[in-house]
């Protein structure tokens, strides 16, 4: 791992996940430092960690272990001028078949694979198909039942790699009441809308949700609509795109506060 980062990619720092104290956590090591026991079998949103430490690393190239979804998240953040693309090197990690099945991921292979063997993606999600065959009444009852489990812990926003707004609209009292749990349907509708042009289907919201709300399915449904309406899938490298905050042909730079 250290060899790929520091010799092959000529990076100055490495961000990866390691095992320690019986847990898996992120490790940031500079050239010459001991990285530790690298482990990559647990999905971990290193891009979220990178967003946090990026302002505190003023110089040098950072190598980051990225699955296809992390790579797309980096693209989205570079587009919006949050990261400098020249300062980031990607160590491509291909997901194993088990992980792909868990995420129902359709696009699991990074553009350059350094670790792991590429596996084919899954085309359809069982729950999405089931929900689409339901009547709208059944669907509403299903989602109300799911959203009742929400305790407004904000794990879905905190762990999201592409949630970058300084002031979150969900913390504004206009849309979500200060008191009261569950927070109501508006919370999830607003979040769906805000993620529509940047969600990269990593599934971290679903994994971190203590209520096990199938949030990834909700995102997948919105992304499908986004593709049908505007032919747009988040995560590409175009600097202009049909997003909801800009019009076609408008530059994206400076679009760092969409809320």
């Amino acid at each position: 791992m250290a060899e790929i980062a520091f010799t092959e990619l000529k990076a100055d720092h490495l961000l990866t996940t390691c095992r320690g104290h019986g847990n898996v956590g992120p490790v940031f090591a500079s050239k010459g430092e001991d990285v530790g026991e690298v482990t990559l079998d647990v999905p971990y949103q290193l891009v979220t960690i990178l967003s946090m430490i990026y302002p505190w690393v003023p110089q040098g190239k950072i190598a980051i272990v990225a699955r296809r979804c992390d790579e797309k998240a980096l693209n989205e953040l570079v587009k919006r001028g949050i990261f400098d693309a020249a300062r980031i090197a990607i160590i491509g990690l291909a997901c194993d078949a088990e992980q792909i099945a868990k995420c129902s991921c359709s696009d699991p292979v990074p553009s350059k694979v350094h670790i792991g063997t590429p596996n084919k993606g899954v085309d359809s999600d069982e729950l999405t198909v089931k929900l689409q065959s339901m009547s709208s009444e059944e669907r509403l009852n299903y989602w109300i039942g799911q959203f009742r489990k929400c305790n407004k812990c904000f794990a879905c926003t905190t762990n999201c790699p592409v949630c970058f707004c300084e002031d979150c609209v969900l913390e504004e009292r206009t849309f979500v009441a200060e008191k009261g749990i569950p927070p109501g349907l508006a919370f999830h509708l607003v979040r769906s809308f805000h993620m529509a042009d940047k969600c990269i289907e990593c599934g971290e919201c679903e994994r971190s949700c203590p209520g096990d709300i199938p949030l990834l399915t909700l995102r997948k449904m919105v992304l499908k609509d986004m593709k049908e309406l505007y032919g747009f899938s988040p995560g590409d490298q175009k600097s202009v795109s049909p997003l909801l905050t800009t019009l076609e042909g408008e530059p994206l730079e400076g679009d760092d506060h969409v809320c």
Binding site: R139, W143, V169, G184, A186, F193
Partner: protein, 139 residues
Amino acid sequence: MSDFNPTILAFCCNWCSYAGADLAGVSRLQMPPNVHVIRVMCSASVKPEYVFKALSQGIDGVLVLGCHIGDCHYLTGNHRTAKRFPLAQKILRNIGIDERRLRLDWVSAAEGEKFQQVITEFVAEIKKLGPNPLREVRL
């Protein structure tokens, strides 16, 4: 359901639709009294968040009215609106709320009659759809 009287919000842009609503009123055009008009500076300043909040609190239908494409006082405001609201409708449908409860239309300052027609049609449509299922839900 003949005794069902829907509550409807209409966001009208200051420069066109609100003036259109005014014209409809001055011309004494008859239309159902179920609509609460909210004046906004531009249809693009209606965040879909407002619509989601209104619907999740039990409003039966939301109308967003702006200037015709090309006539926006802020040049590109209604282009943005036209981009956001189809997606907002899809999100509502995914959750299981009928997307017809949200409607986007263009009414210019000279179109008092169109304002009357949009309101009459929308109220009739919402009456057909019935009350918002979320009205009774405590979430």
